[in-house]
Symmetry: C2
Subunit: 301 residues, 2 copies
């Protein structure tokens, strides 16, 4: 149990997961909570009970601000927090959501939209706010790897433009459910196979379509193992993404938000193109973004 | 019930489906049988019982040749019929499979392999044999749309080279299971949206990676309906395939084996590139290929 009193609650409510932090009056995390009750499997009426189940026992007997980012603000979420359009600063004000429990003072931060080419984000804008809170002078490109990887051009503390790639979701679907699953089942990762495949689709994106079934045929005919097949599939998809995202990273200062294998794969593929990208841990950045919003609300209400 | 006696059984045993035809002595189909007990869900011991369940009641009390093509000849199938390597004529001899029921004289036709780039087929080689049995002078390219679409270069009655694209499987996975499923759910097909999307990835294959999530964003921000989204997804994938398969169809005589919506989509995308492709019904062709093998065996045993 935290010894300091809880001042507010930070919440990152995504499609698949829910994370919450009990925060001190000086904006330090006192306790962390996590659940798999993501927005994707909840009806509107379930959000408040799910949040109370996770943190209710730790709430003081007085109203506490709860600042939420992510898919909870989607039309099918807890309450719709309409998108803000680029160019814009990361949103720090949101939509107040009525609750049955008087201890909750919930605000959901909006996502960001771009009309042409059509694109949307929910959650990443708050990470971007956290990043800019620490590096206010940054002018360049953020890459946020994930199920839906985002490339974001930042300038003068604003999101200028962004583009989303379904690379993470495609890797999971193709690697886990297509005929290729037979060739990828197993352990390991072959760095050289990744690099070669990424270079291949980066220079000739058209090769992706034929190379996919080639993974299966290679394992059938030549006994190519799962470590090579898995790294190649990842390389083919990330290379094709980098080819399409070239206007974002070419000649730019690039930072990658992430610390896992996927973030390192992006870093490696960029390095092969002569781009040195820093890796930044996401959880710190998310919390910094929610804190930036809380501070704004504290100073403006 | 057929009035003519059954002379032999033709079988096309794919991953998802099993089709069989009772054939007359002059090689005409007397009766057709179909089942969803494809190779993908059967153990080795189940093939004979499944076939008997489908056709057993119609078998005469004497041994009858059963000619099988497709995935039943895979390593995990009924019995492995090892691949024949290109360049080769469509195989007309196969592997004899012992059976418990003395009325069955089963032969499984082999698939075809290509070592570089690695590729395999099982079943299509028999359709190709049926096509060549009718058009022995054909020199050009066959496109066989399906879960795994094949492009095959034919010359002098032989398969010279081929390439497989997972376009059908990708469409089903991305359209049915990714975040795009929300934007594709519904009816209809927008021909103009298909043509525009296909032209887009055909001329610039790199655009595929970013355009996919764009379908979702377009439906969220601009209310784009499922008929447009579904046709666009198909167009993006088929256009990317055509870009990769360009060496196959450019300046070639092209025939498409298929009669459904997918075959017509390929035909339309090729027509937009100035290639006039004929459509040929697959079932007739499959039966012609199995018949060509039966005739060969009849004359050589």
């Amino acid at each position: 149990m935290p010894t300091q009193p809880i001042s507010w609650i930070a919440v990152d409510w995504g499609t698949s997961n829910l994370r919450a932090w009990a925060m001190s009056g000086d904006d330090r995390p006192l306790q962390r909570f996590e659940s798999d009750r993501g927005m994707g499997r909840l009806t509107r009426a379930e959000f408040e009970p799910v949040l109370l189940e996770l943190i209710g026992a730790h709430l003081p007997e007085r109203p506490v601000p709860v600042v939420v980012c992510g898919m909870a603000g989607a039309r099918q979420g807890w309450a719709e927090a309409p998108y803000v359009a680029v160019p814009c600063a990361p949103p720090v004000t949101g939509v107040r959501v009525p609750t049955a429990d008087p201890r909750l003072e919930v605000t959901i931060l909006p996502g960001v939209r771009q009309d042409r080419p059509a694109d949307v984000m929910r959650g990443e804008e708050t990470q971007i706010g956290g990043f800019l809170a620490r590096e206010s002078g940054f002018d360049g490109v953020l890459c946020l790897p994930g199920t839906h990887t985002k490339w974001v051009h930042l300038s003068a503390r604003e999101l200028v433009s962004f583009r989303t790639f379904m690379t993470g979701e495609l890797f999971a679907l193709i690697g886990g459910q297509s005929v290729l699953r037979h060739s990828l089942a197993g352990e390991g990762w072959d760095e050289a196979a990744f690099a070669e495949a990424a270079a291949d689709t980066l220079s000739r994106p058209a090769t992706l379509a034929g190379a996919l079934f080639g993974l299966r045929a290679d394992s059938l005919l030549h006994g190519t193992g799962p470590a090579v097949c898995r790294a190649r599939l990842s390389g083919l998809l990330i290379g094709a993404e980098l080819a399409a995202a070239r206007p974002y990273w070419l000649g730019q200062q690039v930072a990658v938000l992430g610390e896992g294998a996927m973030a390192r794969a992006y870093q490696a593929a960029l390095a092969a193109q002569g781009v040195t990208a820093r890796l930044l841990p996401t959880e710190d950045i998310t919390l910094a973004g929610l804190t930036a919003a809380m501070r704004h609300m504290r100073n403006h209400t």
